[in-house]
């Protein structure tokens, strides 16, 4: 898994690519939690390069969403591949996340 971060205006964009599994989930947690704690009112998670996600990865995304809610922030997910979307769907995650098609759409949410 690879994580890249950049700022677009006051929005933090985090690109997560590769495999988000039981081994790499802790790496995402170690990046996402400080980001939310520091200046995480506006976050985009760009999953364009994400090839695989398991329940361990979903656990961290859920944790992130819960943290965002507590600080009244907003996290938008974009560029999600179809097979990842299906995993979100089975997990019942679609209604509790804000998911849009492109990063441009995500930026428009702020």
């Amino acid at each position: 898994m690879e994580i890249k971060q950049e700022k677009k205006g006051d929005v933090a964009v985090m690109n997560v690519s590769g495999r988000l599994d039981a081994t790499t989930a802790t790496e995402l947690e170690a990046s996402l939690v400080p980001l939310i704690e520091q200046d995480g009112k506006k976050i985009i998670l760009d999953l364009d390069g994400l090839e695989y996600i398991s329940s361990a990865g979903l656990r961290i995304l859920l944790l992130g969403m819960k943290m965002m809610k507590k600080v009244s922030g907003k996290m938008v997910i974009c560029e999600m591949r179809e097979h990842i979307r299906e995993i979100f769907e089975i997990a019942g995650f679609l209604p509790i996340f804000t998911i849009v098609a492109t990063q441009e759409d995500a930026l428009a949410k702020f």
Binding site: A22, T23, Y52, L58, L62, A91, G92
Partner: protein, 138 residues
């Protein structure tokens, strides 16, 4: 049957990674479609994590035997471990509907397995847990 592949895995997360590479190679060699391959990969990770988390509360190192094979249009797999009796199919259904604040993730892994496989069976034989999977791949 002699067309079965077999491996002995240690109860460590790293082993799941290595084994997923083994399965990926198997999938490529037999031209298993990408989506089915990904779903098998997911099921295998969730099951192995479950066995690692629950199976042996008393010892730190133990082994999990895995066997897998193709037959007709299906992929089959068996997980065998000699840990305490544990039927993952008895885990309660996960929470798929509550609000974000109340949502818990417990039980989701095995739920994925049930949803993504055509058949999942648990049995306890000679002091061993055996979990059997069947997945349509072609």
């Amino acid at each position: 049957m002699d067309n079965k592949n077999q491996r002995i895995l240690k109860n460590k997360k790293d082993e799941i990674n290595h084994f997923s590479e083994v399965l990926e190679e198997f999938g490529e060699k037999h031209e298993i479609p990408f989506k089915a391959g990904m779903e098998i990969n997911l099921a295998v990770e969730e099951i192995l994590m479950n066995i690692i988390s629950y199976s042996h509360q008393d010892v730190t190192d133990y082994e999990i035997e895995v066997k897998w094979w193709l037959e007709d249009n299906f992929f089959f797999m068996e997980f065998i471990d000699d840990g305490i009796e544990f039927d993952p199919l008895r885990l309660p259904k996960p929470d798929l509907e509550s609000s974000l604040e109340d949502r818990e993730i417990g039980g989701l892994g095995i739920y994925f397995v049930r949803k993504l496989m055509q058949e999942v069976k648990y049995s306890r034989e000679n002091g061993k847990n055996i979990l059997f999977l069947k997945k349509k791949v072609f």
